[in-house]
Amino acid sequence: MQKLIKDFDIPNKKIETWKFTDLKKIFEKNIFEPLSTSIKNESIKSNVDTNVEKNIFFDPNINFVIFENGFVKKINIQSKNLEIKPTKIASKKQIIDQKNFSRNDSLLEINETFLNDNLLIKIKKGTKLKEPISIFYYNSEKKNYLINNRINVIAEKDTEAVINEIFISNNKAIYWNNVHSYICLEQNSKLEHYKIQLEGDSSIHSSSSSVNCNSSSIYNNFIFSIGGSLSRIEVNSSINSSDINFNIKGLYLAKTNQHHDITTVMQHKHPESKSNQHIKGILQKNSSGVFQGKVIVSQDAQKTDAFQFNQNLLLSESAEANAKPELEIYADDVKCSHGATTGELDEQMLFYLRSRGLNKEEAQKVLIEGFINELFDEIKNSELKKKLLLTSKKNFFK
């Protein structure tokens, strides 16, 4: 019998990894129904939506994919030795080995059961892509769709690539985006992965990136999360070899009643690899934020270097930040540290700026920008950096 969404247990606070984020509660007010696969054909006929082209992150001269309401609408490939193709709908076959990433909730099962389009991206051996690959997920319907996409990325041996995922919608759209990606980094490959979450205010975002890392690979992840009424972004690593560098920089900006959750699991399984996580959150009004970061260092993973840091800036007394760092270390010769701070804007800094002529509001703005900038500083692409800062200013400071 065909399964319905109500047959699934929507993630809620009873599940340990969802202690601070209750997706089920949303369903009390808003039921999201899986988007039927049958509307695919009609939607593919129309032209590329101008809303995507208008987006500041859009560049027609690079590789890009546009999803509209759950289905691939356009694929543009500029680079050689790059393969991007939609794979069969509802294909259960695992393109990338998922055994390293177990889940204790229903999100993936929901994604598989109701899968809309999925995508296979392959960067072929020895290729250093000059042009990035941008994937746009655009939603326009006010129909409480549950949208399930899957992205599979294979970075073959000795490759370099940049992937941007950009989630956008028109203002009125109401949907739940449930998008999961599996990434395989083969030997000596390097991937920069930007997740730019700008969903509409009434939408739900749940996504994950599960990354299999093989020897001497580098994964640099940057999360910029600003949209949605509830957002949960997960990053899971499986460090399957030595000399791997795994970095996550994450920033969420929580407005009014938003809830933002960034949850990571680092699995160090082999010796001599590094992971570095720096997650920042800024919370306004009645918003709430969560960072859960688990670092598991197996017995064999000697000389692991794992660092994790979470900083939250509370701009209102009713905002709430939860941080849950967890270290599970079974090896004895490792360097692991974690830290978390939550607080208001620093009084000393505010006074310093005011004593130099900035009024209170300006001084606050400068400090908030500084808090954001500190993370953006690591982005080498100055054009992208500018756009991200502009987007945060536009959406957050007003």
């Binding site: 800094m349 005011r354 004593s355 002529g357 400068v366």
Partner: protein, 245 residues
């Protein structure tokens, strides 16, 4: 320029300043010296408008304004500048942006036209060169990871950009080697003119060899106990605070 009358200030119910009087006229450089805990930094902080200082009694007049009624940024706008004893590190805020924002905030307050990028850079380069502040340092986050000397230099650079009417230097000499001290003093002396006044707060006489004061005051137990000319500082250096009483 500045007139302080019978100033009493408490910090968390502890009496720090107890009837301080001071008058600084335009163009004058005054030095306030005193042992640790005499209230030197409290005076600097009260003047600049920092919170946490409870003014119990007294009056501060700055250029015909009741200073205590002004917000810190208004004091800056009116022409008061405090060079901090411990300049604050502000990660993520580039020095370049910070300096341009401060200079334009003060210009805006004075109803002057804001400086555009080109003109700002011109002025900045000239002033930075004079106090030997590396431009790369300015491009970095404000004071972040600076050495003690670099932080003080950065304060003097801000002062020379804001061109205040009254500059208060709070223990600017602490943590400076002799070369940095000379550069900083040079920066201050270069700003001296008939209109501009300085209040130099220091523990040691050393700085006053390079920035020569018109008047020297000794602060003890929250009060000025002795005033004199530059020779008072030299006497103090010989006899110590105990010897002066």
């Amino acid at each position: 320029m500045l007139k302080i009358e019978n100033l009493h200030v408490n910090v968390e119910d502890k009496k720090i300043l107890q009837g301080l009087n001071l008058k600084i006229s335009p163009g004058e450089t005054h030095a306030i010296m005193g042992p640790n805990g005499s209230g030197k930094s409290t005076l600097a902080n009260v003047l600049s408008g920092k919170e946490g200082y409870d003014v119990k009694k007294g009056k501060i007049t700055f250029l015909n304004n009741n200073l205590l009624n002004l917000e810190p940024e208004e004091r800056a706008g009116e022409g008061l500048f405090l060079a901090f004893q411990y300049p604050v590190e502000i990660p993520g805020v580039s020095g370049m942006n910070f300096l341009r924002t401060t200079i334009n905030s003060v210009r805006k307050y004075k109803k002057q036209k804001e400086l555009d990028g080109v003109n700002f850079l011109k002025i900045l380069r000239k002033k930075a060169e004079f106090i030997k502040m590396d431009e790369n340092l300015i491009k970095r986050s404000v004071n972040t990871g600076f050495s003690g000397g670099e932080k003080k230099r950065s304060e003097i650079l801000q002062m020379s950009l804001l061109e205040p009417k009254l500059a208060i230097l709070d223990e600017t000499d602490s943590g400076l080697d002799i070369d940095a001290l000379k550069t900083v003093a040079n920066g201050v002396n270069n700003l001296k003119n008939k209109e501009r006044s300085f209040l130099i707060i220091t523990h040691y006489q050393r700085l006053l060899n390079y920035i020569v004061p018109d008047k020297v005051h000794i602060l003890s137990n929250g009060k000025i106990v002795k005033s004199g000319d530059k020779n008072l500082a030299i006497e103090l250096e010989k006899k110590g605070y105990e010897g002066i009483k």
